[in-house]
């Protein structure tokens, strides 16, 4: 399977996460042929067709947009990886700020411009989800996932509930699970890096967070940290 990993406006965290799958890299190297992956490969083949394009980062410059359109045209599957690619991510918080450079624009999620075949959320994404993407593609499909909120995984992990017991502003109830409640697991309130669940009960969560003693402006900011430009 030929692979292009392309990165736009982002911190490189998603691709670093792939290199963080140290124990699996040898197996992965057997499966894929790196056609374009600037961080770890100096191969510079012609930009031809690829089976799988993994795209990290949001789009914020015309150059990036051209590159994305070209990439979509020459890849069989295009997968958006990470919060920036899915919603604009943290970068989008500068959204309205005056852009110093003409032509650049507030960071946009990929699906605003191209068809995205699959998404892997997270800032950073989970290793397990990157690996099961490759695993499932080997069998010709996309990985299965149970769509639910971080709270579910947090309860399964038998964590103490930070929201109820410590009145910490945890976004677990409205955040897509898949991280095994990583942050509440160390006692840190979920910041919502994996994006919002379907049918999120925003009003109620707003009330709950305000009940933690946060001023409503802070509640809005916290809820909006990863909402980026991608949510409606």
């Amino acid at each position: 399977m030929s692979l292009a990993w392309v990165r736009y406006t982002s911190c490189s965290g998603c691709q670093l996460m792939l290199t963080n799958c140290e124990a699996q890299l040898a197996e992965l190297a057997m499966q894929v042929e790196l056609r374009e992956f600037d961080l770890i490969s100096s191969a510079c083949a012609e930009k031809g067709r690829v089976d799988l394009a993994l795209v990290e980062g949001s789009v914020s410059t015309p150059t990036e947009l051209d590159s994305l359109l070209d990439l979509r045209a020459r890849s069989r599957w295009l997968v958006a990886i990470g919060a920036c690619a899915l919603t604009g991510g943290i970068n989008a918080l500068a959204g309205g700020a005056e852009r110093p450079e003409p032509g650049t624009f507030p960071p946009q999620p990929l699906r605003r411009f191209v068809r995205v075949d699959w998404e892997i959320p997270g800032c950073p994404p989970e290793r397990s989800e990157l690996l099961s993407l490759f695993g499932a593609l080997r069998h010709g499909g996309w990985p299965a996932r149970l769509e639910c909120a971080v709270c579910m995984e947090c309860r399964i992990a038998e964590n103490r509930c930070l929201l109820m017991e410590d009145r910490l502003p945890c976004l677990g109830p409205v955040t897509r699970a898949g991280c095994r409640a990583r942050c509440p697991g160390v006692g840190v309130a979920c910041e919502g890096c994996r994006g919002e669940v379907a049918e999120a009960h925003r009003d109620e969560v707003f009330r709950l967070l305000a009940g933690c003693g946060l001023p409503s402006r802070e509640v809005r900011r916290r809820l909006g940290r990863f909402r980026g430009n991608g949510h409606d």
Binding site: Y8, C11, G13, E22, L25, A29, I40, A94, P124
Partner: protein, 417 residues
């Protein structure tokens, strides 16, 4: 006039471009442009609660997210006059060390090592079971384990929060860590020697740039209040802005440092040289020569990092149970805070002005790759002098750039271009 453009730069972090300008077949000018899309971090934090800043700015860069978070925390805590408990300091140091280890291992074994055997990537090496690559990845995994243990998340760690840390790694985990450290301390000299044994570096001229690093006066450290400058007087960390005098340049999206004591060289090599000078040590390192000695210095730092991890883990184990980990930040107040750290690739400064409502009014972040920019150009010019073959120029230029271990995401985050 011929202009050779190298874009993208490969096997370095981030998007950059090198332009080599030749006249009469001679390399006359080098331009390094950091072309990452601007993410305006210094702007997006303004008006937001200071307590939220570390969560945001660690996203400047994934490879150095730990040190960005720690520098931001420290600067904010200084602004808010919060003194964190000793146990928290240790956990944070562990996080810093884990990040250091992972980044150096990534650079040496994933980005540099393929150059020695002429393959395109570490994938080609692990596919054939190259023992150095495999060992290096194991070391990288260990660094990540340390980060995950101390930070909760391996990239963009969460355990360090304003006022301290949330959780102490369990006694069991610390014991495991120490055992692994012992194994690594045993294993490392061999792996390091093998790396040096395989190393094939092109010739490199004299180092350009004034070495610059922050550090401890008593022992080698990745954090401190004094900026040490090669061949001159140290400067307090708060004086960083004047020293660096960062300026926008028209062709790059990162500011360049234009201080008159520069251009500066930051990173492992600078740290080693300055520490050697401070501790009265003699010749620092011999090895690759020129800028490629930066790699040799990284190898040496890995050894030090492993020792330090073991020591910090031991100190943490000795903490009495129930020792405080976090001082809750009090009510918002105005203040100014600056923190200087050594990121794996050199000096990193975070500076914030916080207003009466506890919101950030001004943010300034000086990053190693931005600081190194001008030195990189000069080093390229020096090292490539006399070469006229295009392929060779390109190949050598790539290796010089790589030797600096640049991290371009970090460098490009600014307000002004």
């Amino acid at each position: 006039m011929t202009r050779l453009v190298m874009q993208p730069l490969r096997r370095v972090e981030g998007h950059g471009r090198v332009e080599l300008i030749l006249r009469d077949g001679q390399l006359r000018e080098v331009r390094l442009a950091l072309t990452e899309s601007p993410r305006l971090f210094e702007r997006l934090v303004v008006g937001r609660s200071a307590l939220e800043i570390p969560d945001l700015v660690c996203r400047i860069c994934a490879i150095c997210s730990a040190v960005h978070r720690l520098a931001a925390l420290e600067a904010i805590e200084r602004a808010l006059a919060v003194e964190i408990p000793p146990a928290a300091r240790l956990v944070r140091e562990l996080l810093l060390l884990g990040g250091h280890l992972q980044s150096h291992a990534l650079h040496l074994f994933c980005l540099i090592l393929p150059d020695f055997s002429g393959v395109a990537s570490v994938f080609d090496l692990v596919r054939r079971g190259d023992p150095l690559a495999v060992g290096g990845l194991e070391l990288k995994a260990f660094g990540n384990r340390v980060q995950e243990l101390a930070g909760g998340r391996v990239i963009h760690p969460v355990n360090a929060v304003p006022g301290g840390v949330v959780r102490l790694p369990s006694g069991e985990a610390l014991a495991g860590l120490r055992q692994d450290c012992d194994v690594w301390l045993e294993r490392w000299p061999r792996l390091s020697a093998d790396f040096i044994g395989t190393a094939r570096y092109p010739a490199s001229g004299t180092l350009t740039g004034t070495v610059l690093a922050v550090g401890g006066a008593e022992r080698f450290a990745l954090q401190g209040d004094t900026l040490y400058v090669g061949g001159g007087d140290p400067v307090p960390a708060g004086g960083y802005a004047e020293l660096l005098a960062e300026q926008p340049v028209p062709y790059s999206r990162a500011r360049q440092s234009a201080g008159d004591r520069g251009p500066f060289l930051v990173g492992a090599l600078a740290r080693r040289q300055l520490w050697a000078a401070r501790s009265g040590g003699g010749a620092v390192l011999e090895g690759a020569g020129g800028i490629h000695d930066n790699n040799t210095a990284q190898l040496a730092e890995i050894g030090w990092t492993l020792e330090r991890i073991a020591a910090v883990a031991a100190e943490l184990q000795a903490q009495r149970p129930g020792a405080p980990l976090q001082i809750p930040p009090g009510s918002p107040r105005a203040g100014v805070g600056t923190a200087a750290f050594e990121a794996p690739r050199g000096l990193l400064v975070h500076h914030y002005v916080v207003d009466d409502w506890g919101q950030v009014a001004v943010a300034d972040i000086a990053t190693p790759t931005a600081i190194n920019q001008r030195t990189m150009e000069r080093q390229l010019l020096a090292d490539l002098a006399g070469i006229d073959d295009e392929t060779e120029l390109r190949g050598r230029a790539a290796r010089v750039v790589r030797a600096f271990d640049p991290c371009i995401s970090c460098a490009v985050h600014v307000i002004q271009c």
